[in-house]
């Protein structure tokens, strides 16, 4: 199998697995009413692992997958997460020294920012997300949970492009 189909197949597999786990388990693992966003973590994990280009694409696809199961406008989550994936990819490319802890912090902060970007984009399309009483709580819990699951998510995201000649983010 050549490189591109292999990357696409592996990424699709990881995204589908994350979607099934999100719907089958993580949706119910709520802390003060907020559940982790595994698909966001996977999208942004690819940004941390592979930089802005792949980060934006995978986060956008993860967002579209999420949109299929949300009641809001189709494409809003894709747009918000795609932008966040691009930004986080740039940021992670610019960090010279990397470690598991730094990557976990990047993923956690990125996820929290992803929630905020979603709130802004959804508000632009008429939803009351920016005025939601729980916005800060959602950002905090989604961010912390992404950092907690990063030891599993980041190796999986690295695996999607491993051994196929992709240049990893620093």
């Amino acid at each position: 199998m050549s490189a591109a189909p292999k990357i696409v197949a592996r990424t699709a597999l990881v995204l589908f697995g994350a979607l099934v786990l999100q719907l089958g388990m993580f949706d119910d693992l709520r802390v003060v009413g907020v559940h982790p966003e595994v698909l966001l973590a996977v999208g942004l994990g690819c940004a941390v692992a592979w930089g802005p280009e792949r980060g934006a694409i995978v986060a956008f696809c993860a967002g579209l997958l999420t949109d299929m199961f949300l009641s809001g406008r189709f494409g809003v989550t894709g747009l918000a997460w795609g932008i966040t994936g691009f930004g986080l990819g740039y940021l992670s490319d610019g960090i010279a020294r990397r470690s598991m802890v730094i990557d976990a912090v990047l993923l956690g902060l990125g996820s929290a920012v992803g929630v905020m970007v979603y709130a802004v984009v959804a508000a632009l399309f008429g939803e009351a997300t920016l005025t939601d009483d729980h916005l800060w709580r959602i950002m905090g819990i989604v961010g912390i949970s992404a950092a907690v699951i990063s030891p599993v998510v980041l190796p999986l995201c690295r695996w999607t492009g491993a051994d196929v000649g992709l240049r990893p983010s620093r």
């Binding site: 719907l23 956008f60 199961f69 494409g75 894709g78 795609g82």
Partner: protein, 277 residues
């Protein structure tokens, strides 16, 4: 990062942004272009996610027990206070449901008599971490459900179906401020239009009830079911909990306590009734 890669990354971002805006615009046009995709996705994924759900039941139960302990304690405390309050008064009705039944019998309201219904279970609550007024039920078009079917419990109105796939349906809850419903006050026959006000808020009737109308706290509110209404007549919505005059609009604003308990939704009934086009 080489400048060529940066340029390519920016181009990717531009393409993604334009694609997403196109998708959102198509969806906003109201043609329901993505409903088939969403329905198919739900049908494809639900068996697998259902299996994961079943496998992880013990873990999810333990988690719910751990994280829900504070809620249970608060609920206990609230119930204790409620009990003290009830013991201190001469109120004869034990709870709101009994009062509702009594009123319904007095007014001869039987909302589910002639319309066939389908029993369904709430499969999942709101998916979004942000406030969401939709839940998914485990029956769909295979069971004869259609978009527009009202969803009720024995206590009263829950919402209406807004999306149907073969085995699942999405219900827009009556708590949604965007869902406007025509109502009638059973005792006075006054009619108006109301909407939800969020997950824990009352149903607010802010149109149609005039200042001179004699609506009082405790009156019973049902769906009006007038021509082209989105609900059939006489589905209980709730009991008027507060009446405030709006001098500017020359109308009364009613805050109606829902008779259905949205925090405890489990089994619901879908009425096989669709609005007239």
């Amino acid at each position: 990062m080489p400048s060529r890669s940066r340029r390519r990354a920016r181009r990717v971002l531009l393409v993604i942004t334009l694609l997403a805006i196109t998708l959102v615009t198509i969806d906003a046009a109201g043609v329901n272009a993505f409903d088939p995709v969403r329905n198919s996705a739900s049908d494809v994924v639900s068996p697998v996610s259902g299996a994961v759900r079943w496998l992880t039941t013990p873990f999810r139960n333990v988690w719910a027990g751990m994280t829900g302990y504070d809620d249970l304690e608060a609920e206990n405390e609230r119930l204790r206070e409620q009990l003290d309050e009830q013991q201190g008064t001469e109120i004869t009705e034990a709870n709101a449901l009994e009062q509702l039944d009594r009123l319904r019998k007095q007014l001869d309201i039987t909302f589910d008599k002639d319309i066939p219904t389908e029993i369904a279970r709430v499969a999942s609550g709101p998916r979004n971490n942000f406030t969401d007024h939709r839940v998914e039920i485990d029956k769909g078009s295979d069971s004869g459900l259609e978009v527009g079917n009202p969803v009720v419990t024995k206590a009263g109105l829950v919402g209406r179906i807004v999306r149907v796939s073969a085995e699942r349906s999405v219900v827009q809850l009556a708590t949604d401020p965007a869902l406007e419903i025509g109502i009638r006050v059973a005792e006075t026959q006054d009619i108006g239009v109301g909407h939800g006000s969020g997950p824990k808020g009352p149903f607010v009737v802010d149109r149609g009830i005039e200042l001179i109308d004699e609506v009082e706290v405790g009156h019973f509110v049902v769906t009006s079911g007038f021509e082209r209404a989105i609900m059939p007549p006489d589905i209980p919505v709730g009991i008027v909990g507060d009446v405030q005059p709006d001098e500017a609009a020359r109308s009364l604003i009613l805050r109606v306590d829902f008779s259905a308990k949205f925090t405890q939704l489990d089994v619901v009934q879908v009425m096989k009734w669709t609005p007239q086009p």
